[in-house]
């Protein structure tokens, strides 16, 4: 084993109270040459302020178009361990629940066949295995399959769907996020493993509006748990909060985005105009003992979130204010399949769904999906007085 590389700049990242990836890679470098070279190349990048990874590679395993990302160093003569350093994505279990023996087996495979470096979890939610050679890719995939794991998504495919822990641990889950993510993942194996679209498509599922997986900002289709009926109010507990010194006006009433909550200090009573409530969940977060979500649960479906690529970053926006989410989840599947068909037919290379809606218009999207136009879709009410009818809708 060659001597550990000197990394004075990286070493600064070891200071301070936070966990450091440098520390972890150094541990790996003691037994793996690629990890040692990885430190060396990163130090070089810090010195020269430029990456030394080449742009993209196309490698893969039989029958799959995604799940493996080719990585090559552009200075392999200096860092031979990084000549091939491919990334593999592994589909995570719903809610990230693991048994330790399963994790150990997964890591045994990766120490044997790859660098041993992992990332739990990547932004997509799946398990990232960092660094192996081209001729090990099929072996890794086979070993993983033998242990019941499967590769995740990459490239222009359905990325590994991901969900918050939901009813597994959280009292606020309005929907069974774990079952939904499991069902959709199994249902769309073809879309997940075989890139066929203009670009990537992400599905993220959060149990409530606190949006634990940041579905609103990161997914082309965000499925977010909500309720249809009224917020349940426990009047005695409201009084207890107030008597305990809780700033009900500052924390709850003034923070309500639609001003649908009012508080009467004389009677110490809270009233909610549920028709104007947008289910943002703030009041419930602030007074969990006094307020509960309604009893008729389902999900709000939002479309179009993504990071900047062709256009700027988008937050996803509401297209279905309330959808029942019961197995076998046919309604959401029907919608997804209509969206994919329309986007695949009309999308340009690297155009995300949200960008296509911007380019062709919401009317075109609604026509393709058969969704009715509803007020919840409007971003800024009363800012645009025009409605453009389709030619065939106008009596000439």
């Amino acid at each position: 084993m060659p001597e550990l590389r000197k990394t004075p700049m990286l070493d600064q990242l070891l200071d301070g109270p936070f966990p450091s990836f440098v520390k972890e890679i150094k541990k790996g470098a003691e037994k793996n040459e690629a990890c040692n070279d990885l430190l060396g190349q990163l130090e070089l990048s810090y010195e020269e302020k430029i990456t030394h990874w080449k742009h993209g590679g196309i490698v893969g395993v039989t029958g799959y178009g995604g799940g493996v990302i080719g990585r090559y160093s552009d200075v392999p003569e200096q860092f031979p361990g990084l000549t091939e350093f491919h990334t593999m994505r592994v589909n995570q279990p719903a809610g990230w629940f693991y048994k330790t023996d399963r994790l150990r087996k997964l890591l045994d495979i990766w120490e044997k066949r790859g660098s041993g470096l992992t990332n739990f979890h990547g932004a997509t939610g799946d398990i990232i295995l960092l660094g192996t050679h081209t001729d090990e890719l099929q072996n890794v995939a086979d070993d993983l399959a033998h242990e019941g794991w499967d590769l995740g998504g990459s490239g222009s495919d359905l990325r590994t769907p991901s969900a918050c822990v939901g009813p597994g641990r959280c009292e606020w889950a309005c929907i069974d996020t774990l079952d939904i993510v499991d069902t959709l993942t199994r249902r769309y194996q073809n879309e997940l493993h075989r890139p066929m679209w203009p670009y990537k498509f992400k599905i993220k599922i959060s149990g409530c509006a606190n949006d634990g997986v940041a579905a609103k900002a990161r997914a082309d289709c965000s499925i977010i748990g909500t309720w249809k009926d009224n917020i349940q109010v426990n009047r005695t507990e409201v009084v207890n909060y107030v008597n305990g010194g809780f700033d009900i006006i500052g924390q709850v009433v003034d923070k309500c985005p639609t001003k649908c909550i009012s508080y009467n200090p004389v009677t110490k009573s809270l009233s909610i105009d549920d028709n104007n409530c947008v289910r943002c969940h703030n009041c419930i977060n602030k007074m969990p003992k006094a307020l509960r979500q309604g009893k008729i649960n389902g999900a709000t479906i939002l479309i179009g979130g993504h990071a900047p690529i062709l256009q700027s970053a988008f937050m996803s926006w509401v297209v279905v204010p309330f959808m029942e989410m019961k197995p076998p989840y046919t309604e959401i599947s029907d919608l997804l399949e209509k969206i994919w068909e329309w986007w695949d037919e009309n999308g340009k290379m690297r155009e995300r769904t949200g960008e296509l809606i911007y380019r062709l218009g919401m009317r075109s999207f609604l026509k393709a999906t058969g969704l009715p136009a509803v007020p919840q879709m409007v971003l800024h009410p009363r800012t645009n007085p025009f409605f453009f009818w389709d030619k065939e809708e106008v009596n000439q």
Binding site: K54, G56, G57, I58, V59, G60, T62, G63, Y64, G65, I69, G70, Y72, E84, T87, S154, G155, S156, N190, R194, P195, M196, W197, P198, Y199, K200, D344, E345, M349, R350
Partner: protein, 105 residues
């Protein structure tokens, strides 16, 4: 960059095995590359796709999108993977002599 030897001619390929100069592509090169992508024998159906991709690239200097590739050849994606087990981008495009399609992780 590595080289492959086809009938005594040295052809440059990139690290993923894609031909660097599409002009150097011919039937023998396709047959050679096919073996590297788990296609033992190029049948008529394989050639249909391979020639389509090669001509498309010649005309537009870019690989077609997957939907177009399926539609224009009257095949669904499953059929494409049956013919080219490593997929349309890595398998079919490589055999057709296209340079590495630009993808995104």
């Amino acid at each position: 960059m590595p080289f492959i030897d086809v009938n005594g001619e040295q052809l440059e390929v990139d690290e993923d095995g894609f031909l660097q100069d599409p002009e150097k592509w011919n039937e023998d090169v396709a047959k050679y590359l096919a073996k590297t992508e788990q296609v033992e024998e190029l049948t008529e159906e394989h050639w249909k796709m391979v020639n389509y991709l090669h001509d498309y690239f010649k005309k537009y200097q870019i690989a077609p999108m997957v939907r177009k590739l399926c539609k224009d050849n009257g095949m669904d994606l499953k059929k494409v993977y049956e013919l080219f087990p490593t997929g349309p981008a890595k398998g079919a495009c490589k055999i057709a002599g296209l340079p590495k399609p630009t993808g995104c992780v």
